[in-house]
Assembly symmetry: C2
Homo-oligomer: 285 residues x 2
């Protein structure tokens, strides 16, 4: 496993690999790796000749009052995990090389970026999309892997890739959960014991929604109300949003029909957590 | 010479060419080709194994009151000229394939896009940069060729390519002029006989600026004043802007030192024309 810091050197390697007609599977991460990330690496390993993982805590996707400085950076542990998954290259750039002084370019996917998580995290998806384009251009992947936990992110990235004709295939893999149902997240380490228990309420509220829909409830607002009631019972919990939207345009639906995304963000103490579930009424969820 | 309309097919061809280790030279155009475009094609032909020219009147770079509908589209003539220059592929997409119904992505190069031509043509450079990224991703060029006449455009595209780590080299070729000095432009065909004569004033005012600087004048505002006075003598002329800026950040300079760009846009009747000159005091202009 080789660790590459220079964007130029990484591009050179990617181009050599592509010229040798080998395929590149790419897993972009901010480090602090967990089973969710590892499941993406395993899939990339199965699908491709060469696997590249980037570790970069991208400053431009954090708001001014968010946890950029505090975000965990257990590099040695991360590298050990990547080695176990037989990753070929770690791309580990420095911020000053990704964003030199005269940096002026940003990319916006309109309509999709200012709803759900984009509403409370202004500029977040602009930062995500811009760094993903940069990483794709540097790593030149055939396939890039993302987790379903960040549902809005992968919908936005798919739209951007289509819109800008980027020759990359996006694969989205299922959310990996702890045994008790909590969606894996690097931010779970922020939680104390009490909060860790309360955090289960995100997944529980989604399961409640699933049961309600299964039992015939189709009114999206009533489902959301029932989820709210359940979550508000936890003292450490504060709802950022709960939304039921179509999976293409992220527009709220009134009635739950066909494919919908139920997504939520909840503050547990000082930690903002997200989770979601895709529901497909036709398939008898 | 093959004419390709489908972005997918064009990408397939580009990838085949790259995999065969041949280089691609790319000249993006809006058609209505003149000697300026042809000089880019000749340079691309000399530098590369395969030459691709795109012909696409990109709707998103025209403002609502601009000349999108009126813009000349002499396709048969354009194809004949390309054939003479031994172009290998014409990429001639339809707007509906470049911008499908759900298109939502745009790219901004801030600071550089809202000055000079960007001031009177709001959204213009956003449209240019976005379509250029799309074209680069579809055509996969090693080198792309632009004309110095659109100085701001090539500065913005260079910035975007660097910022987004696109693996493309940008070459900017000198402005090609008519015998009497008028910069070649597809929009020159809009001019009537009287206007065609008056249009010379753009180049004349630049030559005056060059002489003033040569004779020792360094005050940018005084140079601009002298250019204004000259241009205002023409009845059909109305100045949009005259600016002397540094060539990296396009910020106005007070004193003419080192490398500057003198750029102007002037309405001649109902036709907006641009021209520019790079001045390098150290090199003794």
């Amino acid at each position: 496993m080789k660790i590459i810091s220079s964007p130029k050197q990484m591009l050179k390697i990617s181009q050599q690999v592509r010229r040798a007609r080998k395929t590149i599977g790419f897993v972009p991460t901010m480090g602090a790796l967990h089973e969710g990330h590892l499941s993406l690496m395993r899939k990339a390993r199965r699908d491709n000749d060469v696997v590249v993982v980037s570790i970069f805590v991208n400053p431009t996707q954090f708001g001014p009052r968010e946890d950029f400085r505090r975000y965990p950076r257990p590099l040695r542990r991360d590298l050990g995990l990547c080695r176990k998954e037989k990753v070929d290259f770690i791309f580990y750039p420095q911020a000053k090389d990704m964003y030199p002084q005269d940096f002026k370019t940003y990319v916006v996917v309109k309509d999709l970026s200012n709803v759900l998580c984009g509403k409370s995290r202004e500029g977040h998806f602009q930062g995500v999309v811009t760094v993903v384009i940069k990483l794709f251009n540097i790593v030149q992947p055939d396939i890039a892997y993302f987790g379903q936990k960040d549902a809005q992110q992968s919908i936005i990235i798919r739209r951007m890739v289509d819109d800008l004709n980027m020759p990359v295939k996006i694969k989205v893999m299922p959310t990996v959960r702890e045994k008790d149902g909590l969606a894996m997240s690097s931010r779970n380490t922020y939680l104390n014991a009490r909060e860790r228990k309360d955090a289960l309420i995100l997944n529980k509220s989604l399961r409640l929604a699933g049961l309600l829909v299964k039992s015939g409830l189709r009114d999206a607002n009533r489902v959301i109300q029932r989820m709210k009631q359940l979550i508000m019972k936890k003292k450490t919990a504060k709802i950022d949003y709960i939304a039921i939207v179509d999976t293409k345009n992220l527009k709220p639906v009134k009635r739950i029909e066909n494919r919908c995304l139920i997504a939520l963000a909840v503050w547990i103490g000082k930690t903002r957590l997200i989770d979601n579930m895709v529901i497909n009424v036709n398939l008898n969820v």
